[in-house]
Symmetry: D2
Subunit: 448 residues, 4 copies
């Protein structure tokens, strides 16, 4: 089938078609399913406002459902000649239903069509990622509880600083993830608007019921001004990717810590053999590749942010073909985030704790600040106490667990609030699953 826009008397050069289509016909496989859903919402709206008659509507609906089913088992073909999934869908419907197929694009542009597909794709991914984040946080909190008072040296500047604990370390990751979930959901809240009906960015002279189509797709509201809808392309994606970067930054901290703490020199934790990989030349190697790749992916995603950001600079209002380039880094950002979270969920609580190594690394100098602070309670000005603390160190005899428990202000190792955090996490996770289920229910309804 031909391109939607091809003029009778002009044959566009093949090299131009091939260059402009680029990877779209491959990437769009990820979006096809969502494009069907957006199109279903569109024809339901057209029927409601009387622009599609019953029979035509049923044909188009069946056609779209068929494509949807094919998209699930990856059997629907999108060819380079189709340019993109939008055209492939229209071509399929025209081939199957003739003139009826030619009606599916009534009141639409590919501009709002792709925006709708992307936004459904984004919402679906965000809801799934949010569940993963909270599940990992819960595992970390459980691990923290199991090892709440196992002492660790606490480091600043890579140097031993003060007494820390496994409980404190792992609940720090959990609290970080809770914030990450909040930012992600805040971002979703901003983008949760239906672009459908914005057409090419200047509206159409048809009585489109945008509120209706927004509602049946489960969007919170209509994305109102149709120019702004177009201008949100890339802008919203940048915020999404930032919130993924923010999430992965917690995994960067976790993996960086664990790579350090599983070295032979630190050896506070051991990564079980069945989670390690080997070397092609050195028979003895058991490498933490899994941690290194979590770390690396948490960094690579910065590139996707910059890819989109660079493409967006200094483009005036309205659609530009440049926006096509945004698809790939967006799809990759979601993929890399989901994979990183899934593997982190798998390994989160599988580290072996080497208690003796932890204890042996706690040298007395770690308690210098404690000694100084103890003196301040006797009225000695802190700066003086600080200066005399080092001399007293050799005489001290400190029970690590007592020391940890003595630090009992909010957030200190003796008062981490793990139970409360756990309770909150369970509620958050239950909520996250409810929202996700509601979204799935919306999809089912669209397909019915």
């Amino acid at each position: 089938m031909s391109k939607l826009w091809e003029k009778a008397n002009t044959k566009v050069e093949d090299i131009i078609v091939s260059f402009t289509v680029g990877q779209d016909y491959i990437l769009d496989k990820e979006l096809l399913k969502y494009d069907c859903l957006g199109s279903l919402a569109h024809i339901k709206m057209l029927r409601k406002i009387g622009l599609l008659k019953g029979k035509d509507f049923v044909a188009l609906k069946n056609g779209l459902k068929e494509i949807y089913r094919q998209s699930l088992n990856n059997s629907f073909e999108i060819n380079l000649e189709d340019e993109d999934c939008h055209t492939a869908i229209e071509n399929f419907l025209i081939k199957k239903y003739k003139d009826i197929g030619k009606k599916v694009h009534t009141g639409r542009s590919r501009n709002d069509q792709i925006l709708t597909a992307l936004r459904l794709f984004e919402k679906d991914n965000i809801l799934k990622i949010n569940i993963l984040i909270l599940e990992i946080a819960l595992k970390f909190i459980n691990f923290a509880q199991r090892h709440e008072f196992i002492p660790l040296p606490g480091y600043t500047h890579y140097q031993r600083a003060m007494l820390s604990s496994i409980g404190m370390l792992f609940s720090s990751y959990a609290e970080s993830l809770i914030d990450d979930s909040e930012l992600l959901i805040s971002t979703l809240n901003i983008i949760d608007k239906s672009p459908l009906g914005s057409a090419a960015g200047y509206g159409v002279s048809l009585p489109l019921d945008r509120a209706f189509s927004a509602k049946i797709m489960g969007f919170k509201e209509v994305h109102n001004n149709v120019i702004y809808v177009q201008n949100s392309r890339g802008k919203f994606e940048l915020s999404i990717i930032h919130s993924l970067i923010n999430t992965l930054s917690t995994l960067n901290k976790f993996s960086t810590d664990m790579i350090l703490f599983t070295t032979k020199e630190f050896a506070f934790f051991t990564l079980p053999d069945n989670l390690t990989t080997g070397s092609s030349i050195m028979p003895q190697k058991k490498n933490p590749d899994v941690l290194e790749l979590i770390r690396a992916k948490s960094n690579a995603i910065i590139g996707y942010y910059n890819e989109i950001s660079s493409v967006l600079r200094n483009l005036p209002s309205g659609y530009h073909r440049d926006y096509q380039i945004i698809k790939e880094p967006l799809i990759k950002a979601f993929k890399t985030t989901r994979e990183s979270l899934e593997i982190t969920l798998f390994i989160a609580d599988k580290f072996q704790v080497n208690i003796e190594n932890c204890k042996n690394a706690i040298t007395k100098d770690i308690f210098a600040a404690d000694i100084a602070l103890e003196d301040t309670q006797k009225g000695i000005p802190f700066r003086d106490a600080y200066k005399s603390a080092l001399e007293k160190i050799s005489n001290i005899n400190i029970n690590f667990v007592d020391n940890l428990k003595s630090k009992n202000h909010l957030g200190a190792p003796g008062n981490l609030g793990l139970n409360k955090i756990k309770q909150n996490l369970k509620m958050a996770l239950s909520d996250a699953k409810k929202i996700s289920n509601a979204f799935n229910k919306t999809i089912e309804n669209l397909l019915s």
Copy 2:
């Protein structure tokens, strides 16, 4: 005065001091005021838990208020030898109050001290920026209302596409800014936690009342896990800067549009002479430097995001001196954002509209899609209507305003919802000012 940590028997090399202090003693002038406020909260808390006696408390409070006053007129000196504002404050208090001064650091580390100062600085800036965003949005909406049905060509791919209007264009900026405000406040909501009392990142054996100090500084809650408090350094700043990037991306769109639309070739708008600048060689030039610099600054801020992001990669938990480097891009990001918003507020509604030029640029081909869509209402399948529309163009005679009004679905030029947006904006602005006033009141109370 000497550094806080200098050992009796070791003289650190001057070149090391100078390199490690870097710009801190200059940059910290921006933070000094907030450091005083954080320190005031700390000593009030120390008094409450009995670690500071009444007389000592009064002395330290007076000292801190004196520094605060000096910070306002930039008369407090921070020298390279002081390293940073934290040390300068302690040195000042020790010089003035001797042993009492030595007590101000009880239960603190510079690690939580700088975090507290930064977070107050961030909150103050975010609240001010939020007001600016909403004020600009209101000006744009007013401008949109004044020119609601002035027709403009709507562009896609830099090519004339469909009919647009000044009302639609300027309200698109306003709606974008409303989202920007929402993201900024969502970000504030996440970082609105008190780091005070986290010390070096591992807590202290003193009964610090972190909830109390959080409350008197106006924070929403305590930033709980003290390791996570340290690990939030840079992480939170990255989210803040992303939300500033997001805000400036709207100004990028606005300035890019206006630079194009004030060229001699487009000429839909004119920038008044008293807003233009000239050339050193070409006497005729009236350049839109102000728009170009809004555009450029909206791009430069991407650099600050990457500066912080790059510094953070692969650092394990706990404080690292690397975090010092984050101050400068953060301070600059706020400065560049505030300046860009202030100048945008100044010029937002000063453009002269060249109505005739607008109309003359509306060539008939702009209505091709309208013709095709009109046919669909007669039952012609859209794809067929599309193919025959071009032939009909020469015969049409279209009233621009009627055409705009005929597009009356949500968000289209005939149904922009300007009144409702304006009403919401006024409420949002009133709320933003209330929150900002509440923050100022908190500061006053801290100083009392």
Copy 3:
């Protein structure tokens, strides 16, 4: 076949294998061919130093040549279980040649194996890209010569500034590309070192003849220090990508200019219909998608730079699995650069010039600086002449071509030096092809 390093008693979890292998088994198809070449060099060296006997050598050579041939028609399979192309090759050879196959990895690590494959891949791509750059430059110079004195308004700040010409504009692109070629070749000159024989980054106790293998692969020299060889991973790729960014920045300028100059409002040039694409909703649209995508890709590549840069931060010496992540942005950077250059070469001289539009846009104010400068030749101080020039404008009558020719200092429109540039370009292109042919000859020899 199994992984090279799998231990008898440990089964690594499937999810770990799948996560760590990632896209490698797909991406490595791009590298397979070069890995065969590096392996051929390695076994030729092993034979030379006596570590491979004649019969074994011939078997391995035949095996590698067979894989090479399969790589050319994409028929060699790399499975997820193989992990990467290195293992796939070794598994193939072992399967086919039993114990002989087990010898191919003697004195190697996958660390130096991938480095060698990448560097050959990089060199091949750079040489091809360099030819494309120079070919485009030559087309631009030819176009400049054909339209040397067609006048154009010259713009600063998007505002008409002084008289320009098509000759000057298009030769500016050509000169920019000449610099781009120089940077690319300078970068090649730095990376043109053989990593082969560096093993895992610490050398081996075998008398490897690294100079020999470097020579037969056509490298300029041996990459000496074996730790530095490992540490160059990513470092060299960043320099390569910067030089590609630098090249594409010229295309960004070109495409941005042409998008502006082919608008209806400027209309100095027309993109022929067979190079434009259309809209799904607006029948009249002829969009410069090809230019927009050249522009967008020239920006997207910034993301690849940041992707690699972010992965590299704060990694100590020696191999880390993080380096695996660098492959994808590198491969994509070459691909996007080559495609962008190829399409630019195709369209470079196909623009229609609308001479009347060019002339009509040259308003008299454009000559204000000329008038002022003319007065300086009569002894009037420039700043005074500047101030009185505007009054004289209405009286002038300027022949555009004369004006262009009167600007005859070096690089001005009357003295662009096109012939000389053209001559230099032809020589450079001839050299570039020679070097490329020499590289191809080296490959042939490796395969013989």
Copy 4:
């Protein structure tokens, strides 16, 4: 004094002036000296072509020399009202020499004036940085020689891999720096072109002798096409900053290694007390802040690259005010690079080596690959030897120095080629100083 371009009847708004001037009047202090040099070259050229008479020339020369002298002790004032250093210079000359001063801008624009000043500034900095790079490399080689066969564990994946040495580690830094110097000088070679005489980017109708002014400023050649001269703004700076990033990436590796190797857990090296800094709360701390800040600055500079890169996206040919924004990241990039190199030069060879700790960390498993490779020399296929090597480890007894020396292929620890590298470095350093001296001599001549 007023702005150069102010029109009689239009008063530009103060807020516009203040926003557009921005930091320029402060930043330009760094450039003032170079602007004087460029202006001196310009008036010498004007005299040569007869556009400046002897008396006028002498006056202007004296004026410019006076400003140059003031620039050296930072006593020349640039006010916000001046906008920039170019105007401040012209205003100074007009104030002092009346009508003669008004002649200094003959045939110039601030566009080529700033380009000339920047390029001289860049060249001066690059030449100085190049010397520093080579001096550090020489120190590293000397350190490597002093500790050539001190054994260290060699790491991959942060895990012990094979035997390494201090000699090999430190010469890896040196070799990396040699490449960095080469890239920097290659970049200089590309930008070493005189922009003077390109005026506003479209040339002038005066017989400017651009070759003459290029020569007396010491540029390699004239930057020919005057549009390309303008378009090189930012483009050249991006290449410069990339080569600084490349240089600092070597320091990133060095500082990251040393931070790890000076931890209590690794402890292969000790940073002397007088190079460490302390904590405000923990009396025992001796932190490697100096290394952390070298690391952090090597990362922060990525932000400057992105700042410039983002500003440049999608700007058409010709000057835009956006280019002003490039100054600050450029100046900061040079500053941060020079400071980082200077401090690295200071500490490069001051690390204490803890030989016993090094040896103790060399566990037997490190030799597993050696054992396997030894077997291959007996004819055992490598993959089989690999599989049986681990069993043999407990029986081995290895002399570390012998093992290091047995690895004697090029670049291995037994054959690092230190003497040759050292000799090459000394020659390179001598050359670098010669070029730098020649540049200084050029400046002297300009001032004479």
